[in-house]
Amino acid sequence: MELRVIENTEDELSIEIAGEDHTFMNVLKGTLLEAENVGAATYDMNPEQSGGQTEPILTIKTENGADPLEELEAAAAEIRSKTAALTDAFDDAAA
C-alpha cells in the first residue's frame, strides 16, 4: 500500500492509495462517512481505458476543524475494531 498525497488543506485531503481496489476502498469510504466530523468522503477509480488514473484516489472533506488525515487514521482504526468484533461474533456462532 503506497500512499501519495495529492492535495492536503485544512479541511480537505486527496490521497492516492496504490494497490487497492473497490474491496477495501468502499469499506473505507463507508466507514469514513460514519464519522461525525467527515462531511464528504469519496473515492475515484477511473479505469485506464477511460483515460484516467488506475490507482484509487480517496477524497475527504471534514467539518468543525477536524484534520482529514487524522480522520483517515481513525477510520482505519475503526475498520480494525469492526473486523475484530465481527470475527469474535463469527467464532462464537461457529464454535
Binding site: M1, L3, I17, E20, H22, T23, F24, N26, V27, L28, K29, G30, T31, E34, L69, L72, E73, A76, A77, I79, R80, K82, T83, A84, A85, L86, T87, D88, A89, F90, D91, D92, A93, A94
Partner: protein, 248 residues
C-alpha cells in the same frame, strides 16, 4: 456504528453454508464478499514439468486441468512465495485421477480424489512434476477459494390484514431468508412463494437494516468458516497497513 454484531448459522455443511450476519453495513458486507472471492489465497498448481506425456492431450492442456484441481490449503502455514511440489505418474491403460497426485507435503492434498485428468490408452504414459503456489483469485480463478459467494438482505415479513375473499392471488416470490417475529425461515420451506405460507393474508415485506444472509460455497481448499474468517482478516490487514502508513 454501535450496533452489536451477531452471526447465526442457518445452514451449515462442510463446503457450503448460509449464515446471517447482523450489524454490518452494506459496504462492509460487500467488502467481505469481494475478499472471499478475490483476496483469500489458496494453493494451486502453477507450473508443471513433464517427464513423459504420450497422452492425446498437449502438455498445456494437462497443466491447465491440474491447476484447476483444488488443493487443501491449511491456514497460516504458507506464504505467497512458498512452493509445494507434487508429482503424478500413471501408465495406460488407465485414467489418471486427481487422487493419483502425490504431494510432498502431507497438509497439501487434492481436495477431490475423483477428478479425471486424462484417459490413457494402451502404451500411453504420463509422468510429471508440478509446483503449487499460493495466490489469490484476483490473479487466477484457480486460486479462488469461494465459489458462488453472495449475500441478500434479511427480509421481515408481517401480516397486515386479510386478503379480499375474491381477489386474484399473484405469487409473491422471495428467495433467501425471511424473518417472522424472531424466527428465521428459509424461503425454500414454502417454495419461495409467500402466498403459500400466508394463503389468506396480506403481507408487508421490508429489508431488515444491516442484516445480511451470506450464502457461501468453497471449492474444498478450506472450510466456509475459514474462508470467511480469512476474508475478514484480509480486510483487517489492509486497515492495519493504512493505519501504519498514515500515522507515520
Amino acid at each position: 456504528m454501535d450496533e452489536e454484531y451477531d452471526v447465526e448459522f442457518i445452514e451449515r455443511e462442510e463446503r457450503s453454508a448460509k449464515f446471517l450476519v447482523r450489524g454490518v453495513t452494506p459496504a462492509f458486507a460487500n467488502g467481505i464478499r469481494r475478499a472471499m472471492i478475490a483476496d483469500v489465497p489458496t494453493l494451486a498448481i502453477d507450473e508443471v514439468r513433464f517427464i513423459e506425456n504420450s497422452s492425446v492431450m498437449f502438455d498445456e492442456q494437462i497443466a491447465l486441468r491440474l491447476g484447476l484441481v483444488p488443493l487443501s490449503t491449511p491456514p497460516n502455514e504458507f506464504d505467497e512465495d512458498d512452493v509445494v511440489t507434487l508429482s503424478l505418474d500413471v501408465s495406460g491403460p488407465a485414467t489418471a485421477y486427481s487422487g493419483d497426485i502425490v504431494s510432498s507435503d502431507e497438509m497439501v492434498q487434492p481436495a477431490e480424489e475423483n477428478v479425471p485428468i486424462i484417459d490413457l490408452k494402451d502404451g500411453q504414459r504420463l509422468e510429471l512434476e508440478a509446483d503449487a503456489v499460493l495466490s489469490t483469485g484476483k490473479d487466477h480463478a484457480k486460486h479462488q477459494g469461494g465459489v458462488s459467494v453472495g449475500y441478500r438482505h434479511l427480509q421481515r415479513v408481517e401480516t397486515v390484514g386479510d386478503r379480499g375473499e375474491f381477489e386474484d392471488v399473484d405469487p409473491e416470490i422471495y428467495r433467501g431468508v425471511i424473518q417472522e417475529g424472531d424466527e428465521l425461515v428459509d424461503t425454500e420451506e414454502f417454495d419461495h412463494d409467500l402466498t403459500n405460507r400466508y394463503p389468506d393474508q396480506e403481507v408487508a415485506v421490508e429489508d431488515v437494516e444491516h442484516a445480511f444472509v451470506f450464502s457461501v460455497e468453497t471449492d474444498g481448499s478450506m472450510s466456509v468458516e475459514e474462508l470467511f474468517t480469512r476474508a475478514v482478516e484480509s480486510l483487517d490487514a489492509r486497515a492495519a497497513e493504512l493505519e501504519d502508513a498514515v500515522s507515520l
